[in-house]
């Protein structure tokens, strides 16, 4: 009973999915600065992961993040709420990344070791081991995703961000069946790459 009363006194924050839906409704009526802040707050981590799937070079990753932020800032003027904010943000991120790839087609080979800098964390030994394992798996996965062909990489990264097929289709401008085909092939290739890496 007491616990129930406490719950009423202090309402739980809405889960992320709900927050996104609320945002979509509110977005059009908000000013650009608020829209931008909200987009970065909600999808900042996803954008960072997406950027990592496009380039291994840390400097380039930072540049690309800034380019996406700039493109998002400019494009928010045109956001009319026809699609969800998430779709809009991912569209801009992919379009920006592709434009960057096209611009730097004849760029230097990427030699920079991938993501070696890590924040120090104080955890228990078991936790640390678990985290290390997770970190290792994450690194392997990122490497594998990076070596996928672009057409599969785009679909796989969006699926890893847990976007439904329909939304992936909306972001990329392809049919839902095409998304399914690409995702299956992408997964197969990912599996093969990961197996090779383990050997």
């Amino acid at each position: 009973m007491l616990q129930y009363a406490k719950t009423i006194d202090k309402p739980m924050p809405p889960p992320k999915k709900e927050r996104q839906d609320l945002t979509k409704e509110r977005m059009v009526n908000r000013n650009r600065q608020q829209q931008f802040a909200e987009a970065i707050e909600l999808y900042g981590a996803s954008l960072r992961r997406l950027v990592r799937s496009y380039t291994k070079d840390q400097e380039e990753q930072k540049d690309l993040e800034q380019d996406i932020a700039m493109a998002l800032w400019k494009a928010l003027v045109h956001f009319k709420g026809d699609c969800s904010l998430r779709t809009f943000v991912f569209r801009i991120a992919h379009n920006c990344s592709i434009s960057k790839i096209l611009r730097k087609r004849s760029s230097r080979p990427q030699h920079t070791p991938f993501d070696e800098t890590q924040e120090a964390t104080t955890t228990t030994e078991a936790n640390a081991e678990q985290q290390l394992d997770m970190k290792q798996r994450q690194q392997q996965l990122i490497h594998a995703v990076q070596s996928l062909p672009l057409k599969y990489r785009q679909v796989v990264t969006l699926a890893l961000e847990e976007l439904p097929h329909a939304e992936i289709a909306e972001v990329l401008g392809i049919s839902i069946s095409n998304v399914a085909v690409r995702l299956n092939r992408g997964k197969e290739q990912l599996r093969t790459i990961l197996r090779k890496e383990r050997i």
């Binding site: 960072r48 700039m70 592709i98 997770m134 057409k151 401008g173 392809i174």
Partner: protein
């Protein structure tokens, strides 16, 4: 006897589990870009762009004003100068309009799907190439105009040019030198645009066909 190995037990289940592990591993990195830093960068870049835009506008206005001066303030303006000035003004107006249109289009297409965005980039590159064709033709017209105007100018002011040959070299040489410079610039630009179009087509084919 047919040697057929049955699929591993619960392989579909394994794949679902495998995917969920991948998703978990993928999302375990929750580092976010600093909002403040990004906002600062956006403001900085926007200021730079505004500055660049104003510089271009200022330069264009300056050139147009210079021609306006030669057209209306100078009393003894000869017709070739009027033709040249009007031509340049019209060309600059076209140039500025194209710059604004391309900028507007590229900004609005960023929020479109990747397919539409690449198509928009392709159309823009083709439009730039078409504009370059137009600029090339304009350059040819100016060149032909110069071929007629320079000898005529030389013939009508022959005594002055004989006395001061330097002015003829600087005047006519400069005129054709600028034309040559523009021609080389257009050639370089055309090559870059063709490369851009080529890579856009390759990307489009790789992503959306087959």
């Amino acid at each position: 006897m047919k040697d057929s190995t049955p699929p591993p037990k619960g392989s579909e289940h394994n794949q679902v589990q495998e995917w969920s592990e991948w998703t978990q591993a993928w999302k375990s990195d929750e580092s976010e870009p600093s909002q403040e830093e990004l906002q600062k960068e956006v403001i900085k870049q926007q200021r730079q762009m505004t500055r660049k835009l104003f510089m271009e506008l200022f330069a264009s206005i300056l050139v147009i004003a210079y021609y306006a001066y030669t057209l209306w303030i100078e009393k003894n303006t000869s017709w070739p100068v009027i033709v040249l000035a009007s031509g340049t003004t019209v060309f600059l107006a076209f140039w500025m309009a194209r710059v604004f249109k391309t900028y507007q289009e590229s900004q609005s297409s960023m929020g479109d799907s990747t397919k539409e965005h690449i198509l928009c980039l392709k159309e823009q590159t083709q439009a730039k190439l078409r504009f370059l064709d137009f600029a090339d033709k304009a350059l040819l017209c100016i060149f032909v105009f110069g071929l007629i105007w320079c000898p005529w100018m030389f013939w009508t002011h022959i005594e002055g040019y004989i006395q001061h040959p330097g002015s003829a070299i600087i005047g006519f040489g400069g005129f054709f030198g600028i034309l040559l410079g523009l021609k080389l610039f257009y050639k370089h630009k055309r090559k870059a645009l063709h490369q851009e179009l080529d890579s856009l087509e390759k990307t489009y084919t790789a992503l959306f066909t087959g």
